[in-house]
Symmetry: C2
Subunit: 152 residues, 2 copies
DNA sequence: TGACTCATGTCAGTATTCTGACATAGATTG
DNA sequence: CAATCTATGTCAGAATACTGACATGAGTCA
């Protein structure tokens, strides 16, 4: 149409499409989590702790793709409300291993069902083969982006 | 490892991987845009206007995946700083068609080059066929997610 | 025509995330 | 052993995006 020479055509840009897909996923997740009074980061934190008990604040932050400062704010709220517990002293270093309380686990159960339904909906039109293709392609993109993060 | 029954295994979840890829892309874009004093949303707005001159605030918001209120704040700043112009009166309805000024176009040029390099890096490990596969698969996921947005 | 619905621009306040900064614990290195 | 580096937790302030709300213009419909 216009200046297509050095531009990034949004219609054909995989980056743009990636952002669009991620946005659609986030919206869909927020939609099903809102009735449970839970944000996406909130859910991510609980899910991470369920699958990898004892993760520290910084590890949770990396797993949820936010800064450790942001995760700290969330974690303190979750601790205050009794969804998560952390020891008063670090067993080693400064990292405090966090764990779900029974209440946290209970809260997560409903959310997991809701999020699972969203993921299934997203994959509805894809065959098993296409799903593993998508997995492999995304892995490759992530790897390429991270690789030369320093070597800029 | 632990409770894999009804859970969403993060290691094998396409949703999680999608979020990871999108996060990596955002980080990489912020990295190259920061020296230009430009945020991702800022760049998205200019790029959208370059490719589709005359888009309204609401249309730009949808294209950049933010609310129209957020885009309005950005757009007013861009207008104040002389990157964008909007007519005082709407030619039809209330929508004000925005356009890049020469200064906005000049500012975008450098950013486009930077972002293009990120996108190329992301696709470095993929063949042409794999890229169109990724495109098709992402399109399918987006469609599936949007389809039943209302029918919840 | 008049009531209704819908999309838009915009203001205000809230919430969330980020950047900057500091102190501390462990590992590395000379 | 001392210096340095890296990672961590945490506080504070700034930036960014969001929800809520209101008024306005255009289309629909009875």
């Amino acid at each position: 149409m216009s200046q297509n020479g050095a531009g990034v055509n949004l219609e054909t840009s995989l980056g743009y499409l990636l952002k669009e897909a991620s946005s659609a996923l986030r919206v869909a997740m927020e939609e099903v989590l809102r009735p449970l009074g839970m944000s996406v980061t909130h859910y991510s934190c609980l899910e991470l702790l369920a699958q990898r008990p004892g993760l520290s604040n910084s590890e949770l932050a990396r797993g949820a793709f936010v800064t450790r400062q942001s995760m700290n704010v969330l974690l303190q709220a979750l601790e205050r409300d009794g969804y998560v517990t952390r020891p008063d002293e670090a067993p080693v270093g400064k990292a405090l291993p966090a764990r779900l309380t029974p209440r946290g686990r209970r809260s997560l159960e409903k959310a997991t069902v809701a999020v699972r339904s969203v993921e299934l909906r997203m994959l509805a039109g894809l065959t098993e083969t296409e799903q593993s293709d998508a997995f492999r392609l995304l892995k490759s993109m992530i790897h390429s982006l991270r690789d030369s993060d320093d070597a800029t």
